[in-house]
Symmetry: C2
Subunit: 198 residues, 2 copies
């Protein structure tokens, strides 16, 4: 049985990074899917762990060879999800968390129809606004971030699960529950069940 | 949003009772669905808690009025699931565990298509045999129990989830996870998500 793919999206301020980090810590068989990028590594970032850091030429070549399920250009840098990297992990039976925005997630669904799609949300619109406000940015930047967040939510209305992050520990518990429950899906245990009846 | 209905089946020896009891203890909003029966109460059993104890006449009348989603005769006693009882709990927003064998579960699915169906299984056929053997019954009785158990598994191959009970604490954790995850289904949060976008 290949690994389980959890696709996770969240507007900024939802707490996605903390929730994923806590969950990864609890399950050694669960890994973070590593994306490819042309963005230069930041201090402390490790090639193959945080990202696969590629030159723009190499990235473009791989696009040409159809290696990315999806890719996107952001502020002049390219970001993409390589199919062979994901497949290798999943084939080894590792479960994967893939952090991606909802439009990229749609491309993932085409290729991995059995993936599980989870949207993480702050508890309310007011709380989202207040978390964005705490960043101390200008009203115009805040307004733009809010609009982007709402666009992302709108683009994720087809997801399987929503984890509201009212309190981090409860949100981690719910995210973990979705993972564990999906591992209990009957379709993942057909062989083991068949062994009872043989 | 009405409550969530968890329908649980298991062959005898799977540990269903312990798993349900532990889970109910952890969630005050989760209740055990109470069935009706003509069987006389055993010492300590409370009407309306363990069962609704009905006279055979009353039970038959209720069958006539179509009050039971399903009912069954077992060793001369009648057992049934009353729709109005379940509906009242669910309408109040309580979540319910309904313990029923797979054939009854199929009738439940007709009436509650959004219910979640969970099969609890011992870790293996060998372990099932050894748990049945520990009861110290005759080989013939054991053989019959095993056949019944396998028939029940065969009748439950359409269930949503399988929780293997290797170790009780892990099985409780998985069962609890299925419950929590189903509470996170996107479809249960449409209103809350719409409030972000309004």
């Amino acid at each position: 049985m290949p690994g389980l793919l959890l696709v996770v999206s969240a507007p900024s301020g939802a707490g996605k990074t903390s929730i994923c980090r806590e969950t990864l810590r609890a399950f050694p068989e669960l890994r973070f899917s590593v994306s490819s990028t042309t963005r230069p590594p930041r201090p402390g970032e490790v090639d193959g762990k945080d990202y696969f850091f590629l030159s723009p030429e190499e990235f473009r070549e791989r696009i040409g060879r159809g290696e990315f399920i999806e890719w996107v250009e952001n502020y002049g840098q390219l970001y993409g999800t390589a199919k062979n990297t994901m497949d290798a992990f999943l084939a080894q039976g590792h479960d994967l968390i893939l952090d991606i925005e909802p439009r990229g997630a749609k491309a993932i669904r085409e290729v991995y129809p059995r993936a599980v799609f989870i949207l993480i949300l702050p508890p309310s619109l007011d709380e989202l606004k207040s978390r964005l406000a705490k960043r101390g940015e200008s009203a115009a930047v805040m307004e733009r971030r809010l609009r982007t967040a709402l666009d992302e939510i709108r683009a994720a209305l087809w997801y399987d699960y929503v984890v509201f992050n009212d309190r981090l520990d409860e949100a981690v518990d719910r995210f973990r529950a979705v993972y564990l429950a999906e591992k209990c899906r009957r379709g993942r245990h057909d062989e083991r069940i068949a062994a009872f009846l043989s």
